[in-house]
Symmetry: C2
Subunit: 321 residues, 2 copies
């Protein structure tokens, strides 16, 4: 966390305002008692931080950048609420999930409401270009999640298919940040393409690292159960790579999917993924993306924001939570 | 259906276009195979029909009224998809629900996607006033559904609380129709208030009739299971009224809620509701609202659309499906 605090320093006041205002939105709502004490507003806020740093680095000086940060963070949180229903997750950021607290039924609707809060604020900005891009990226986000759901248990999922899924599922909100920063600073199309590409890469590497952490981390650190992806029959890069190298492992995974309560087999599979170099391969992919990302950020004029952007990219790949 | 066909006659071409275009939206989507053959686009389309008739009666002549009809109908369908997850419903309009077809997980996300399709088209209309009202009514819709969910099993729910819930849950989309018709025809504030009030009453009486039909109808006619509300512990007007008259009935309901598979008790409760005049009371409420509604429609200048509007209100209260 300490490292992240240093990165955030140049946009600390924006982040404080964002947190205060998200709390207000949750508190002033008719269902405020359902939102208080939940995981909402307790995340790392990587997407708004990325937005603040990027927009400032590109020269945007208005205070209303916070509004856009809230739009993105609320959208992200809404999708997490529905995600937790789908994954039957009971913990998130060390807190109980909405489905754990209120049951699936109410959780579906509270998630819908969070989507609406994001959209409401976006409509209030009175910028159709922003609404267009929000709709597009929200659609991609949903498509990615549906594709992931439809591919649950599909041991033949290829690396390309996985990349397509996470580009939609995760990179879309980072791309949204890139597009918002572009729109607000009226960048030329060429510059925009570079910024959007860079944002997308950050999102992809973020997700790959997340998928690695599911294999390597401890519950205490990530605030949610580990080895959860396989229990939900979600195939990610480390195991996709490892299964391609070992038919024996693939068979084990198929066997595990017929009884996901078999923890002995689960940890055997994990050891197999490590031995076959699945985690190493995924990490190298993420590092390669980080390198490309750094190259594109380097072209932005020097500023404290740019320095923090570079440090943020480092953090995303090196984080342990 | 025949009666409805006659009502629809003046806006038949709008309705045909709407159905064709909704089919295109569902077919051209990346998950088209998940949408085909489902209950989507198979409903009575009361909300778009109401919009077409009202807007035309108020003098709106543009073809793009169909766009607004699609926005409302898709929003309605999105909320039905999430509704069916919440109510564990397996049938809707005679077809399998999304949760029955694909499981709750995928159904949550396909519902999200339908919400998005509605919002996408709304953004394309490039009218902020429409987006404002859409956000407001969508929020009310969700609030009503959440309140209903939180009051499941609450045998102390009052008639006032029930009315507040259905005003949000159901009347909000009829109010949306009224507001859209107002905005498009640039009505003065006074006229608008009357139109909005009338739209709200139509929504309320529609829901009261729906709640009566849950007690009186047959599966074949409504295309979904009957006596479903009580099984989901949802208290509606007929039983709220009847329980106020009989403590004995209230105790029976409480007992039933502790084991909702007890069909003998369920049909005993239904008989009690009938004997205590619960259905009669609810029907009178709906008829009183219809009378008020007719009074307000009467002030609209004469036209075939106005005649159909009056017939539509009749149909809504007298329908058996």
């Amino acid at each position: 966390v300490n490292q992240l605090e240093k990165i955030v320093a140049p946009v600390k006041s924006e982040l404080k305002t964002l947190e205060k205002r998200i709390n207000s939105i949750l508190r002033e709502n008719v269902f405020n008692e359902k939102f208080t004490g939940t995981f909402l507003n307790k995340g790392k806020k990587l997407r708004p931080i990325f937005l603040f740093l990027l927009a400032r680095a590109l020269g945007y000086r208005e205070n209303d950048i916070v509004d856009y940060g809230i739009i993105v963070e609320l959208l992200h949180n809404a999708s997490l609420v529905h995600d937790d229903i789908i994954d039957h997750s009971l913990k998130r950021r060390g807190e109980s999930t909405f489905n754990a607290l209120y049951g699936n039924n109410i959780a579906v609707l509270l998630g819908d409401l969070l989507f609406l809060f994001s959209n409401k604020l976006a409509v209030e900005k009175r910028k159709f270009e922003i609404l267009d891009i929000l709709v597009e990226k929200n659609e991609n986000l949903l498509i990615g999640e549906i594709e992931e759901g439809l591919n649950a248990g599909n041991v033949s999922l290829t690396e390309d298919e996985y990349m397509k899924i996470i580009k939609n599922k995760t990179a879309s909100l980072f791309e949204l940040v890139g597009e918002i920063a572009c729109l607000l600073t009226n960048k030329k199309e060429n510059d925009c393409e570079a910024i959007k590409g860079m944002s997308s890469l950050i999102g992809l590497s973020f997700q790959i690292i997340d998928d690695i952490l599911d294999y390597t981390s401890e519950v205490k650190k990530v605030g949610k159960p580990v080895m959860n992806d396989l229990r939900e029959k979600t195939l990610t890069l480390p195991i996709i790579y490892a299964m391609k190298k070992s038919y024996d492992l693939k068979e084990k995974v198929e066997k595990f999917f017929s009884d996901v309560s078999n923890d002995t087999l689960l940890y055997e599979i994990r050891d197999g993924v490590v031995e076959l170099g699945g985690l190493k391969y995924a990490k190298e992919k993420a590092l390669e993306m980080m390198k490309q990302t750094r190259g594109r950020i380097d072209k932005i004029p020097p500023s404290v924001y740019k320095d923090s952007l570079l440090a943020l990219v480092d953090f995303i790949v090196k984080r342990s939570f």
